[in-house]
């Protein structure tokens, strides 16, 4: 009798106990992994807490790459830094979320020229004024390219064609209101044409832009240097001019726009901000940390590998630079009718 009954009874009991046991095991796992991977060291102003860095773009994008390189470069110095992505709208989605954070010096965000432009074009209710700018770190210059078999031999040919009939020259590039369109607008403005009439073809990614150019549908394209460099080296596209002040070491034979009489200079810089309202001491510590990182051999190696320029600038100089960029970009976007 007992033998026969014990089976179902035991099963019923195990069914009642099993959920509790698994829950207990899971709780133990939670508690054991608590604090795993955090290695708070140095930076007393941060009370040894872990840094969090927002990349206001999708995984794989420029800001995401910058964030993850910073994460790597900082690991040796201060331990694990957490990077998280908030994608969207030139970074303004991330910015609006970031601005709601308290004045916590461990919460950082990557920013850059694109965000300065996007704040204006998207009528973002939140601006960079609601953050504490810390430092500019990298720069990526823009290159004007044409397909290898294009009849346009140099930037002068392109400028002449634009002067003759602006609408007939199609220029492919990244998203509307982004760095590439800003550069196209600056060039048009400089040669006395209406920037809003440029036949600019926006693309959501470098890949799509490249197919538009290489399928022979657009006359020219503008791209970030690091993105297009492999295609230049492969001879698929021909660089006409770079947007830097001086010739770039990676492309010593390519003239700058300024050199060819188009007085335009533009760099797609990227930097880091902290929340508004952090103390002066906290700001100093963070800037110091970033500048030390920027000078480290590891970071220099990263810049070289990525093809980014070193643009380390912190403190009041960075804030002045930011203000001048906001004014300049604002003017161009207005002329582009992207207000």
């Amino acid at each position: 009798m007992d033998q026969r009954r014990s089976g179902p009874v035991r099963r019923a009991r195990s069914r009642r106990v099993a959920p509790v046991v698994t829950a207990a095991v899971a709780t133990v796992a939670l508690l054991v992994t608590q604090g795993l991977g955090q290695r708070p060291e140095g930076l007393h102003a941060l009370e040894g807490r872990q840094l969090r860095l927002m990349a206001p773009a999708a995984p794989g994008g420029g800001w995401d790459q910058t964030s993850r390189e910073i994460q790597t470069a900082l690991r040796d110095r201060i331990g694990r830094v957490e990077v998280y992505n908030v994608d969207g709208a030139g970074g303004t989605v991330g910015l609006s979320q970031y601005a709601q954070l308290p004045a916590d010096p461990t919460e950082l965000m990557v920013t850059g020229l694109i965000m300065v432009g996007a704040i204006q074009t998207n009528h973002s209710p939140v601006t960079l004024a609601e953050t504490t700018p810390l430092a500019r770190l990298t720069t990526d210059y823009e290159v004007v390219v044409v397909p290898a078999d294009s009849p346009l031999r140099g930037i002068d040919d392109l400028v002449t064609a634009m002067r003759t009939d602006l609408r007939s020259v199609s220029i492919a590039g990244g998203s509307a209101g982004g760095v590439e369109q800003i550069l196209a607008g600056l060039i048009a403005d400089e040669i006395g044409k209406n920037p809003s009439k440029v036949n600019y073809i926006a693309h959501s990614g470098g890949g799509e832009m490249l197919t538009t150019l290489l399928s022979g549908r657009s006359d020219a394209a503008i791209s970030g240097l690091s993105e297009i460099l492999p295609q230049i080296e492969a001879g698929r596209v021909r660089p006409l001019a770079v947007s830097s002040a001086e010739r770039l070491p990676t492309l010593p034979d390519v003239p700058t726009l300024r050199e060819r009489g188009v007085d335009v200079e533009l760099s797609n810089w990227r930097g880091i901000v902290a929340p508004a309202g952090i103390s002066a001491e906290e700001e100093r510590v963070l800037e110091d940390m970033l500048m030390r990182m920027a000078r480290s051999p590891r970071w220099q190696e990263t810049l070289r590998r990525r093809g980014w320029g070193d643009a380390a600038l912190a403190g009041p100089e960075f804030e002045r630079f930011l203000a001048s960029e906001q004014r300049r970009i604002g003017r161009v976007l207005e002329k582009l009718d992207l207000r």
Binding site: Y84, G88, A89, T92, T121, N122, A176, H203, G205, R305
Partner: protein, 496 residues
């Protein structure tokens, strides 16, 4: 022959016990993130990247290859069993696959998905090994006009997805197209249907829409019908593939591969478009009285193969011209660069050994997925014996996790719930939800490419039929439109 030798050396490097363990870890993580909606391989690889810097390049590349293929693979499991796609490209598998599992053929559906993924993944990898330069040339010649023709083809072919009532199918498609309008217009930078809400500026994530329409809709529906307590008999009759299943599956695998690989290689192709095309091809090729709409195995085999072949196709422009065409590819590119591999034309000559190790590990990862999953098919199907209340409570937990991972704002959750309510209304009105996802994916692509093409030609519409490729694609479109009528006519005459 040089290549073969290099590949063998690659296998030699990849086939150490330690590396096989990394491959196993990769495919396991990949399958897990593929199953969960909203968390894909892109995010996972990006998150794991800093951890793997301490590993050897070979080991971590092998793990990433496993995550990549595993992610493509895992998405279909929940799609087939629970009618809850783990990622948008697995949506089509839910159409026939879920019908099969409700009829007790879940294990067969999973098996054909597993084998189809393996066949397509292996053929795709073979394509990467042998045809990469050719396919890359094809892919970069694909300008806006070609895309317009491809989108027209996709739109024409999705009529098979619309369901029994044209009107209801169109209504669903239009809902999807409207959702696709939300966000900043890529050509002019103006916000559409965003109502000044920052979180809507970048549009509504496809993942959120898929989760809402399928998972939330299904959960709400069960609640309303009071069917939370029921379970489905997981396996009825013969468990795995019968001889007839094999005969019907393998041509669909091959056709799916042929569609998926080249379209996957296109910068704006994606993995979804070939699954739509594959489904409609299989449906059109099926004989009268086939099981389509009631659980046809071809409807799972073809799209699953197309999905995985597209995943391999993405690697073509990435490896040969250093062109990342999807978020995942961009992250993988980052991984390559951090190991000193510079994808691009010189890749094959410069980073030889590591590259061939990577390609070898793609083959290994694929095989490992099959070995791992085929024996588990019956076990997965047993998932159906869990009562629906527990499954759908878990689906809710995963759905909110996925939404959080892809956006992370309260607005995203509100959008998710609102679309879930729309899905319930659609289900109740007997309106299929799949066309909405189709509209959401194809609409923005078609609009942007058409406007781009016309801007480039300054308004001249003849640009849309310039070039041999566009003309060929429009020819296929015409065939799709005319063929059913002609076939009917031919059959009619035969019977006369």
């Amino acid at each position: 022959m040089d290549q073969l030798e290099a590949l063998l050396r690659g296998f030699d490097a990849a086939l150490s016990a330690g590396n096989l363990l990394w491959a196993l870890l990769g495919v396991t993580i990949g399958t897990a993130v593929g199953v969960l909606p909203g968390i894909g391989p892109a995010l996972t690889v990006a998150l794991l990247l800093p951890i793997t810097f301490r590993l050897e390049p070979t080991s971590s590349l092998i793990m990433f290859a496993g995550i990549y293929y595993g992610g493509m693979y895992g998405g279909s499991t929940t799609s087939i069993l629970l009618n809850t796609p783990g990622e948008s490209a697995a949506m089509v598998s839910a159409l026939e696959g879920n019908k099969m599992s409700r009829a007790g053929r879940g294990a067969a559906a999973l098996a054909t998905a597993a084998l189809g993924s393996f066949v397509a993944g292996t053929l795709g990898t073979l394509g990467v090994t042998l045809l990469a330069p050719v396919v890359a040339e094809f892919a970069i010649g694909f300008g806006p006009s070609e895309y317009v023709a491809l989108m027209a083809l996709a739109f024409v072919s999705v009529s098979t997805l619309l369901g029994s009532s044209r009107l209801k199918g169109m209504a669903s498609l239009l809902v999807g197209l409207t959702v696709g309008l939300v966000g900043i217009d890529a050509q002019t930078g103006q916000a559409r249907l965003s109502f000044g809400i920052p979180a809507l500026l970048d549009g509504i994530d496809v993942v959120i829409v898929v989760v809402a329409l399928f998972a939330l809709g299904e959960t709400f529906d069960r609640l309303l019908k009071g069917t939370g307590g029921e379970t489905v008999e997981p396996v009825r009759g013969r468990a795995v593939l019968s001889r007839q299943d094999w005969r019907r599956s393998w041509p669909a695998w091959l056709r799916g591969t042929v569609l998926g690989f080249p379209i996957g290689a296109l910068p704006a192709g994606g993995a979804e478009v070939p699954t739509f095309l594959s489904y409609s091809t299989e449906r059109r090729l099926s004989r009268k009285g086939s099981r389509f709409g009631r659980g046809a195995i071809e409807g799972v085999a073809g799209p699953e193969a197309a999905n995985n072949a597209a995943a391999a196709g993405v690697l073509v422009p990435l490896l040969t011209i250093g062109l990342p065409t999807s978020a995942t590819a961009a992250v993988i590119l980052t991984a390559f660069q951090s190991y000193g591999l510079q994808p691009g034309p010189q890749l094959f000559s410069e980073s030889g050994p590591l590259l061939w190790t990577l390609i070898a590990s793609l083959y290994i990862g694929n095989l490992m997925l099959l070995v791992l999953n085929l024996p588990l098919v019956k076990l997965w199907a047993r998932l159906l014996t869990i009562p629906a209340y527990a499954i759908y409570a878990a689906v809710l937990v995963f759905a909110t996790l996925g939404t959080f991972a892809s956006g992370g704002t309260t607005v995203d959750l509100v959008v998710l719930y609102a679309l879930g309510a729309v899905a319930l209304l659609m289900r109740t009105a007997n309106v299929p939800v799949a066309p909405a996802v189709v509209g959401l994916i194809l609409g923005p692509l078609a609009e942007q490419q058409l406007r781009r093409a016309l801007a480039l030609s300054q308004g001249d519409p003849t640009v849309l039929v310039s070039g041999p490729l566009t003309i060929a694609l429009w020819g296929v479109v015409a065939l799709f439109v005319v063929a059913p009528g002609v076939l009917k006519f031919v059959r009619l005459r035969k019977t006369c």
